[in-house]
């Protein structure tokens, strides 16, 4: 086998194999979208999209995802900066722990949150400060928990790519550590920050598992776009579900496109 992959012929075979895999995957995705297009009746699609329920879901998704993204990015900036630059014992452990929400199933995360709100402390927060369980703030909390890990990972790679000497020069020019961060590091991280915000937002819009576990799936109450797909499929209203799926696909494509345009580079997650 290794003999076969030697020389010019081997190079071609390897190139052919990798490109074939890429083409097959692309055909698979395109096939799925085409089959959806074929299934859709466009009049029903438009009326489904403009129905009160779906308009509510769009509005709720946009609002919750935006708030969740702002919160997640505000948390992620200092955390990612600390992991990227600071040296402290147990840093690797903390770094790995912060990745947990990326690998753990969102449903499990939602369940963990639900369990927390059934403890005396969680209960008192839910009763006296803000209602999370089966309520809109629960959607935001679920999204924040799921997407903040992604935001941290993206921002860490941005901060990692910034030479610390920029900040050092800033300090010799009279800036304190905090000022140097604001005036030097943040402007240098601008592209990465925008890319992280867009990806985080797109992920928050699509969040389902944790949301449905903590905030429930109540039509016209905690019904975000992914929840709308779930509810409509459950009631066999496939056209409506497909309309929402289309909407999610379009939002994702636009988000990815803008991100590419802004950063012109790929991020490894």
């Amino acid at each position: 086998m290794s003999r076969l992959l030697k020389g010019v012929g081997g190079d071609r075979a390897f190139k052919g194999a990798t490109i074939s895999a890429l083409v097959l995957l692309a055909i698979f995705f395109i096939g799925i979208i085409v089959s959806m297009l074929a299934y859709t009746d466009w009049d029903t699609f438009i009326s489904a999209l403009l129905s009160e329920e779906i308009l509510f879901a769009i509005r709720l998704s946009l609002i919750t995802a935006t708030i969740a993204t702002v919160i997640a990015i505000l948390i992620a900036i200092p955390v990612a900066y600390a992991i990227s630059y600071a040296k402290f014992p147990g840093k690797d452990l903390v770094d790995s722990l912060l990745d947990l929400p990326i690998v753990i199933s969102p449903v499990a995360l939602g369940a963990v949150l639900l369990v927390f709100f059934s403890t005396p402390l969680g209960n008192s927060i839910d009763d006296n400060i803000m209602k999370f369980v089966f309520a809109v703030p629960g959607i935001i909390l679920a999204q924040v928990v799921v997407v903040s890990a992604l935001a941290i990972r993206l921002l860490k790679s941005t901060f990692d790519s910034i030479d610390p000497r920029y900040e050092q020069v800033g300090r010799t020019l009279g800036l304190s550590k905090a000022r140097a961060f604001i005036k030097v590091t943040l402007p240098l991280a601008k592209d990465g920050l925008i890319a992280a915000t867009i990806l985080t937002w797109a992920r928050a819009v699509g969040e389902f598992g944790a949301t449905v576990t903590l905030a429930g799936a109540t039509a016209m109450k905690t019904e975000t776009l992914p929840v709308a797909i779930f509810l409509n499929l459950a009631s066999a209203d496939v056209e409506k579900a497909i309309a929402v799926i289309f909407l999610l696909v379009i939002i994702s494509v636009i988000a990815l496109f803008i991100m590419r345009k802004i950063t012109k580079r790929r991020y490894q997650i």
């Binding site: 010799t172 020019l173 800036l175 402007p187 240098l188």
Partner: protein, 363 residues
């Protein structure tokens, strides 16, 4: 005055050990050393970029060992200049001034002064990413000087430039230093650069300061083996005879070698020339026969990427140095006959204190 006392620091890959150094006001001090010697770390310690646990740093009688960098008032030009890419040239220069809340008029005046001092007035609105290496260096210098620091730290300021620009900017650095009278510490691994620009220099090797002195002192009288290994010993030739040829030229005879030197002063007692300043050729070079000698290779020593050759010319043996790849291309072996060409401009002259040599003073 900068005083470094018993400074030690260990950063894993780099370290400094018991550094003691004193640099006078207005002095142009060069720290010379091979790559990995800890030169940058020393500069960063003075700039306040490392926490110092052992040793002290004093400036003008104040202990600044634990002062944060923003309070040290030290101008710093890091290697590769590290200009802020998100700011134009002018905004790079005014960066520190804006933070220090200078008025708009003051900032404008300062930028104009610095831009004309650095000859970068025409670049002021440019994007820093579009500048050449030499231009970047000037902008970085202007930025570091904007707050009128008492001390200027330059980390390999000419390292990223092509030979021509480096040579030009070397003179510029000296001019700017003379104009502002600012105490300057310049680090480099380039001996020619150090020799040309330094008032005094220190040789740093493996984290230790091996020797501090005037360039002549260090280059011609290396204090220990580490310094002489790094610098290489010069060829020192005693002159038996010396005669002025007029037009600023003087002919000397050193043990049978007749050498013409551009010199316009007293008679010459001895001359010296570094091995790297003697060219070697397989064939007789064209042109006048001045300062060219035929000799035989008697020894070849390899040291890193260079080869040091001993060539016997008459009664004298001259040391020359050549990159290894070139030496291999030229098939240089012991016993081979070669031609040596002395680099006229690099010959160092020691004048005679008495006047016992036969000489004719130029009119």
């Amino acid at each position: 005055m900068i005083e470094v006392k018993d400074l030690s620091i260990d950063l894993g890959e780099f370290h400094l050990k018991d550094i003691n150094l004193s640099i006078g006001d207005g002095e142009y001090f060069v720290i010379l050393g091979p790559t990995g010697a800890g030169k940058t770390v020393l500069l960063e310690c003075i700039a306040g970029l490392h926490k110092i646990k052992q040793g002290e740093i004093w400036v003008n009688g104040d202990d600044i060992t634990h002062l944060p960098p923003e309070e040290r008032k030290i101008g710093y030009v890091p290697q590769d200049y590290v200009l802020f890419p998100f700011l134009r040239v002018a905004d790079n220069i005014t960066f520190g001034l804006k933070e220090a809340k200078y008025t708009k008029t003051e900032i404008k005046e300062r930028v104009n002064t610095l831009a004309s001092l650095m000859a970068i007035t025409h670049l002021i609105n440019r994007d820093t990413r579009s500048l050449s290496g030499g231009e970047k260096q000037r902008v970085a210098l202007a930025r570091a000087l904007a707050l009128s620091p008492k001390i200027l730290l330059l980390d390999e300021p000419l390292g990223a430039l092509d030979l021509q620009s480096a040579k030009y900017l070397r003179l510029e650095l000296k001019r700017i230093h003379d104009e502002l009278g600012i105490t300057t510490i310049h680090i480099t691994h380039d001996q020619t650069e150090a020799e040309e620009i330094a008032d005094r220099l220190g040789v740093l090797n493996m984290g230790g300061l091996e020797q501090v002195g005037m360039p002549d002192e260090v280059f011609f009288y290396p204090g220990n083996e580490a310094v002489s290994d790094f610098i290489g010993s010069p060829n020192i030739l005693e002159c038996d005879y010396c005669n002025s040829l007029g037009q600023g030229l003087m002919e000397v005879d050193c043990g049978g070698l007749r050498i013409v030197i551009p010199h316009d002063g007293n008679s010459i007692e001895r001359i010296s020339l570094f091995p790297r300043d003697i060219y070697i050729s397989n064939t007789q070079p064209p042109g006048p026969h001045m300062n060219r000698f035929k000799g035989v290779i008697t020894e070849i020593k390899t040291s890193g990427t260079t080869e040091r050759l001993s060539v016997k010319v008459g009664d004298k043996t001259l040391q020359t140095e050549i990159p290894r790849d070139i030496s291999e291309d030229m098939d240089l072996i012991v016993g081979k006959e070669v031609f040596l060409i002395l680099k006229l401009k690099r010959i160092k002259v020691y004048e005679c204190k008495c006047n016992h040599n036969e000489s004719k003073k130029p009119s």
